[in-house]
């Protein structure tokens, strides 16, 4: 349970922003600081369509300014954050949002990293199992075992003392 909590904690680590801040252009700023903060958060996830990979929050383009005002108008009209985003994506397509939607076309995108981790993890599992088999396949005689342990201990000690060398 605590692990799960930590994971969720981590997921949101970089999305928190504690400070209410003002908009790009002073004349756009909403009077209600709570609404303004929400507007800023949304603006950071909305793409300026005529720019190269820039959110409307930091773009100088006229279109970005228009979109910033649209976002604020929708918020003042009482829309939720999700409403504003779906309003924008309905008009401009998914391209306008920096958070890609979750659907069949983007399934591989969202789950790709997990897939790589899973395949890598399974590969590691079989690697270690193969290692074990290798060990079992060539058992040592008790004398060999004793000698090996002696050597290993010695080796570990010398290795331990200069252990940092390798890294």
């Amino acid at each position: 349970m605590r692990g799960l909590f930590l994971l969720t904690a981590v997921l949101f680590l970089f999305t928190v922003n504690s400070n209410p801040v003002k908009a790009f252009d002073p004349d756009e700023v909403l009077d209600d600081p709570a609404l303004e903060t929400r507007a800023r958060e949304i603006s950071k996830e909305v793409r300026c369509l005529v720019c190269q990979n820039e959110p409307i929050d930091s773009s100088n383009a006229d279109l970005a300014k228009e979109l910033r005002i649209v976002v604020r108008e929708r918020l003042v009209a009482g829309d939720s954050d999700e409403d504003v985003k779906s309003y924008l994506s309905a008009r401009y397509g998914d391209f306008v949002l920096f958070r890609p939607p979750f659907n069949t076309a983007t399934f591989l995108l969202w789950f790709g990293p997990l897939l790589v981790l899973g395949v890598g993890g399974i590969g590691m599992f079989f690697f270690y199992r193969g290692n074990k088999k290798l060990k079992v396949a060539n058992p040592l005689s008790p004398e060999e075992e004793a000698r090996l342990n002696l050597l290993l201990d010695k080796d570990n000690k010398t290795k331990g003392s200069d252990s940092g060398e390798a890294s």
């Binding site: 950071k44 995108l109 790709g112 990293p113 981790l117 940092g164 390798a166 890294s167």
Partner: protein
């Protein structure tokens, strides 16, 4: 005339590269020492000609020879000399030539420093290195020739993009390219080893210094790029998950994995097949990075079609290089013998886990960068992938990796006792809890998760320091003994401590500035004051000034805290004469705890000026940490050179051998 000389030189370099990619291979097959030795000679000849070509292009830029298309399109006679020179690589053709130059330098360096390499391995490495050269030189000559003349030269040039006229960006591309191209050596070694069918500890010892060189420069290049973005773009941001940044980050992640897995090959003769694969993948990502930025593919699949000739050529080259090497890998890797075995909880196991997490992180960035292209190409519509995606995928993968950074180095080889190792970190753990409490107090109970994040950074740093203290027996032996042990620590041990410590510091900076950044924007008239995060910025007015090739408006801010004068900030807004492009020059006052950052914008109707003020807590820690990492790379390299037995220090090497013989005897 000089341009024709350059043209001639790149053709000669291509011929040398073609010969170098064939003859040494035949020589290695037939054990013909003369053919094998030709590889070294050819690599020097190739370097000579590429250097000549590069010199010719640089000369054309310095004297502003606008009869060359390349110079006319990217330079201007009024540009300061530094930017005339950096303009050479500030465009597609020139940057390709720089790439080839660095490739040739690395090839010649292998020839010169690899005197004690087995002759067949060396011949094959140089041949593979030359094949890469052939690909790039052909691309340069047939699709991106920098020496093309103009029939009617213009009176003056079109100038370099003003954003690039900056000292930070003058040196960013060369450093980045040394990083990208440096991985070509690891790649060539990997391919040569596959051809030879032999990978051993010695192979890893030759590969590691080259990988480390590349990694060090790539780290520096990326850090320089993000620093530039921070002070030049005027948004106070330092990383945007922009595709252009991502493509340099991917080889870094993979190269970091390679650097760690090569240790296992070197020390334990294990993970050989995996390390070969990593070497291939790292350089493949470097290739993809170079080409994707250069082809214009990133903006959209459609801009790819603007220059189909280049695009097709690029795809073709990528297919041969990556497809070919992976096919060779699939064909030959099974014949490589497995090495030493180890349990999951061991130094090797830790390094393998590091590799798994780094590869996953790299896959995440890869998907985020290229998925929109694939989707668009397959007719699936357009999507944008930005920070929200990476926060939810990349960050969770990195957190366990970062938490384990200081645990791995404590694990002994083969098998380890995890409880015992964690026991050795108990003081670091206790100090981490104190650090978390301190962060809690200082930030007045700021966001819980951010404070945990800072705790993670503290854990990394303290754990790394405690490992170092362990190694020199600090406080457990007389101080004189500890001192003796400390000065005897090998460079690579220092390298590890510094690199991991630097990473911790950089992570602390990243978290702080992401979470506690404060920004404000206002319209101010001269004499008015704005207060941001407890600091007062009094706007004293503006003045106009003229630079060598731009006009500027400079604002003055008097910064004070609690009525006490702190500093004066003078941000500029420039308009470059030729391209009529405005740029912002932020004014930054850096301190240990944070930066005070001011930007001046446009004048509004009532005579006031739009100003933006940022307070960036601990932001310089990011680049300080990166600097430590770069330093760590060089320290470790200084040590490696002796071990690998490169030319310098014959006497010392002899001593070392004696020592190792003594050790063996004991």
């Amino acid at each position: 005339m000089i341009a024709e000389l350059g043209q001639f030189a790149i053709i000669m370099a291509l011929l040398a590269a073609i010969a170098q990619s064939i003859l040494p291979l035949i020589g290695a097959e037939r054990l013909d020492s003369r053919l094998m030795a030709f590889g070294s000679q050819a690599s020097l000849i190739q370097l000579l000609f590429v250097f000549l070509a590069f010199g010719c292009l640089t000369q054309a830029y310095i004297v502003s020879d606008f009869t060359l298309v390349n110079v006319a399109e990217n330079s201007h006679s009024t540009k300061p000399l530094l930017y005339k020179i950096s303009g050479v690589w500030g465009n597609h053709e020139g940057s390709m030539l720089l790439w080839i130059l660095i490739l040739a330098v690395f090839g010649a360096a292998v020839a010169a420093f690899g005197r004690n390499l087995p002759v067949t391995l060396k011949a094959r490495v140089l041949a593979v290195q030359a094949m890469i050269g052939v690909g790039f030189l052909t691309f340069l000559i047939f699709t991106s020739n920098p020496f093309t003349r103009l029939l009617v030269p213009p009176e003056n040039g079109r100038d370099l993009n003003p954003l690039l006229q900056d000292p930070g960006l003058a040196f960013h591309p060369p450093m980045l390219y040394v990083g990208y191209v440096g991985f070509s050596v690891a790649f060539s070694f990997a391919i040569a080893a596959l051809i030879e069918g032999k990978v051993d500890a010695a192979w890893a010892r030759w590969v590691r210094p080259w990988t480390l060189t590349a990694w060090t420069f790539l780290t520096g290049g990326i850090a320089l790029g993000s620093w530039w973005a921070y002070y030049e773009l005027g948004w106070g941001g330092w990383w945007f998950w922009d595709p252009v940044e991502n493509v340099s980050f991917m080889p870094w992640l993979m190269g970091t994995a390679l650097l760690h897995s090569a240790i296992v090959v070197e020390k334990r003769n294990s993970l050989k097949v995996w390390t070969i694969l990593l070497a291939i993948l790292t350089f493949s990502l470097s290739l993809i990075g170079t080409f994707i930025v250069r082809s214009g593919l990133l903006t959209s699949v459609h801009s790819f079609a603007v220059n189909p000739e280049r695009g097709i050529f690029i795809l073709f080259l990528l297919a041969i290089a990556i497809g070919g090497s992976l096919a060779l890998f699939a064909f030959r890797a099974p014949s490589l013998k497995a090495g030493g075995i180890f349990s999951p909880i061991s130094r090797e196991g830790g390094l393998l886990l590091n590799n798994l997490l780094l590869s996953t992180a790299c896959a995440t960035v890869f998907l985020g960068t290229l998925y929109p292209l694939f989707m668009e190409a397959l007719g699936g519509g357009r999507v944008s992938i930005g920070p929200p995606f990476y926060n939810n995928t990349f960050v969770p993968v990195m957190v366990p990796l970062l938490l384990l950074v200081c645990v791995g180095p404590l694990l002994p080889w083969k098998r380890a006792d995890l409880v015992g190792v964690l026991g050795r970190l108990k003081y670091a753990g206790l100090a981490t809890i104190l650090a978390i409490l301190l962060a809690w107090y200082v930030t007045e109970g700021g966001p819980f998760l951010a404070i945990l994040g800072l705790g993670m950074a503290a854990w990394m740093l303290l754990g790394t320091l405690s490992e170092w203290a362990d190694k020199i027996k600090l406080f457990r032996a007389p101080l004189a003994t500890s001192w003796q042990r400390m000065i005897k620590l090998p460079g690579s041990a220092w390298g590890m401590t510094l690199a991991h410590g630097g990473l911790a510091i950089a992570v602390a900076g990243m978290i702080s500035t992401s979470v506690w950044k404060v920004e404000d924007v206002a319209v101010l008239k001269p004499g008015e004051t704005i207060s941001v995060a407890g600091t007062d910025y009094r706007f004293d007015g503006v003045r106009e000034l003229a630079g060598p090739n731009y006009q500027a408006v400079e604002g003055t801010f008097t910064v004070s805290q609690n009525g006490e004068f702190m500093t004066i900030l003078k941000p500029q807004k420039r308009l470059y004469n030729v391209q009529k492009m405005p740029t912002t020059e932020a004014a930054i006052h850096s301190t240990f705890v944070g930066d005070y950052y001011a930007v001046i914008g446009d004048q509004v109707e009532d005579g006031g000026w739009t100003v933006r003020i940022y307070r960036e807590p601990m932001v310089t820690w990011i680049w300080f940490g990166c600097t430590l990492m770069v330093l760590a790379g060089f320290l470790s390299l200084a040590d490696r050179r002796l071990r690998v037995g490169a030319p310098a220090g014959k006497r010392k090497q002899g001593k070392r051998e004696q020592k190792s013989q003594r050790n063996a005897a004991a």
